[in-house]
């Protein structure tokens, strides 16, 4: 079984790219299954169902969507195996840009929108820096020069990654991504995350609603960068 974890900023075109790539994988004889993780709501499962591939939705609700995705990897892989599939496409809903939901033995794909400007690759963090493949979307909206500058910026933060220029509307780049998936790694028994998660649980996680400083506990970071531990 191969595992592909697709992450990226909201609206970058993850679902559209993945749909075209799924078609391309089907054409080459692979059997993909799709797990779509979202936070609160999605109907993307209907879009994938139209391709005739097994699909399930996981809604993270109150749990961190990346933690939800990682916690359920074993179940997802078992489900994909039960559907007699040979590649699991996991579309994640990571939002906070502090961690990255990529295990070591997967093909980690970060979808990033070129129209967000050449500084965007510097803001995305481990989602991009630990990816194997960066898929740059919406390049048709800008000039070739701007696409190339964007590419250079991606390579500044992740020099080893493979960059695929893709278009969610026309399907450009999906054949290239499908080939990378076909040549991608097989999952292993004791997989580990590539990047350490952010600071552990905070006061807000446990239900604190009051804004004032005195109510907050844990490892806290001030606006000027000063960090301290407050608590017992």
């Amino acid at each position: 079984m191969k595992l592909v974890v697709v992450a990226g900023t909201p609206g970058a075109g993850k679902t559209s790219i993945l749909m075209h790539t799924t078609r391309s994988l089907l054409q080459s004889g692979m059997k993909p299954a799709v797990v779509k993780i979202d936070c609160l709501w999605t109907e993307d499962d209907r879009r994938f169902e139209r391709l005739g591939v097994p699909v399930v939705v996981g809604l993270a609700k109150d749990m961190c969507p990346d933690h939800f995705s990682i916690y359920n990897v074993d179940d997802m892989l078992a489900w994909a195996a039960s559907q007699e599939c040979d590649v699991l496409l996991n579309e994640t809903a990571g939002l906070c840009l502090r961690c990255a939901p990529y295990p070591d033995n997967c093909l980690a794909v970060c979808v990033i929108d070129v129209t967000t400007g050449p500084n965007a690759p510097l803001k995305v963090g481990p989602l991009l820096t630990t990816a194997d493949v960066a898929v740059a979307t919406k390049g048709d909206v800008v000039s070739q020069a701007e696409r190339e500058v964007f590419r250079e910026r991606i390579l500044e933060v992740n020099p080893g990654c493979r960059i695929v220029e893709a278009n969610g509307l026309s399907g450009k780049g999906s054949a290239e991504l499908a080939e990378l998936i076909r040549n991608g790694p097989e999952t292993a028994a004791d997989m580990k995350l590539r990047h350490n998660p952010p600071l552990a649980i905070c006061t807000l996680c446990t239900g604190e609603l009051r804004v004032a400083k005195e109510h907050h506990r844990g490892v806290l970071r001030h606006l000027d960068g000063f960090m301290e531990y407050v608590g017992e």
Binding site: S143, Q144, E146, S170, A175
Partner: protein, 252 residues
């Protein structure tokens, strides 16, 4: 280096095989792409730009020297065979002109010093000069297009040049085309402009998403093109006169 660019025909919008099955282009050739709006002109140069291998809606395949190009010339700008001037008239990057040009030069393996040259060249094509410290996002459509054109001529100096409707930007179209074409390149020009359509030796006519036919420019058409060039020179001089706030005189 010998260079031949081939388009192997695919299908039109209805899924029917396109009438032109194969199009070969060699160094030093300028070829025009004409046809009504929506007939697939931009898609054709889009296919060439990304070296389509049956993976776009047209199903066309692009060959270089008769072979399928590898992944590297497709994605690495330093090895890129293709420079493209698209229809985009604006930059979205929030950077100054000089910062952007230096970064683009770096991505193409050129020294940062070319940035100055690009701005100077762009200013020969546009009315209101571009300042290196301007933010890209405040440039006008004409200034952006002039900068994109100069950027291609100096930084993206690739042997295949794709140009999409250069006439729409209010810049000097003939000078811009000459700048981009350079020596010994393969140049593909999408155009609605009669003069630009008749300058190449051949033109592809697009219809319903497919390559419909190829027309060789006749001797008569060349004569028409020369007449058009004179008309265009006159129009350009009138435009300049009016832009400068002066009064025009009757044709000589």
């Amino acid at each position: 280096m010998n260079l031949e660019l081939t388009v192997i025909g695919g299908v039109d919008k209805e899924g029917e095989a396109e009438p032109v099955e194969r199009l070969d282009m060699v160094r030093g050739e300028i070829i025009g792409i004409v046809g009504p709006t929506g007939s697939g002109k931009s898609s054709l140069i889009g296919d060439i730009e990304q070296f389509a291998q049956g993976d776009t809606p047209s199903g066309r395949r692009i060959l270089i020297n008769g072979r399928t190009p590898g992944a590297e010339p497709r994605s690495d700008p330093r090895k890129k065979l293709i420079a493209q001037l698209s229809q985009n008239m604006h930059f979205l990057a929030d950077m100054t002109v000089v910062e952007f040009l230096k970064m683009h030069a770096k991505s193409r393996g050129k020294p940062a010093s070319v940035a100055k040259e690009v701005v100077e060249l762009a200013n020969t094509l546009t009315g209101e000069p571009i300042h290196p410290d301007h933010h890209l996002t405040i440039l006008s459509g004409g200034q952006s297009r002039a900068l994109m054109t100069a950027d291609i001529a100096v930084i993206s100096d690739s042997p295949i040049v794709l140009i999409d409707e250069i006439e729409n930007a209010g810049i000097k179209k003939r000078e811009a085309l000459e700048l981009l074409a350079g020596e010994g390149k393969i140049v593909v020009v999408v155009t609605h402009d009669p003069m630009l359509a008749l300058m190449p030796s051949r033109r592809v006519v697009m219809r319903n998403g497919g390559m419909y036919r190829i027309i060789d420019t006749s001797q008569e058409e060349r004569t028409v093109c020369e007449d058009l060039t004179r008309v265009d020179d006159w129009l350009m001089s009138l435009r300049e006169t009016i832009r400068q706030g002066e009064v025009v005189e009757a044709a000589p």
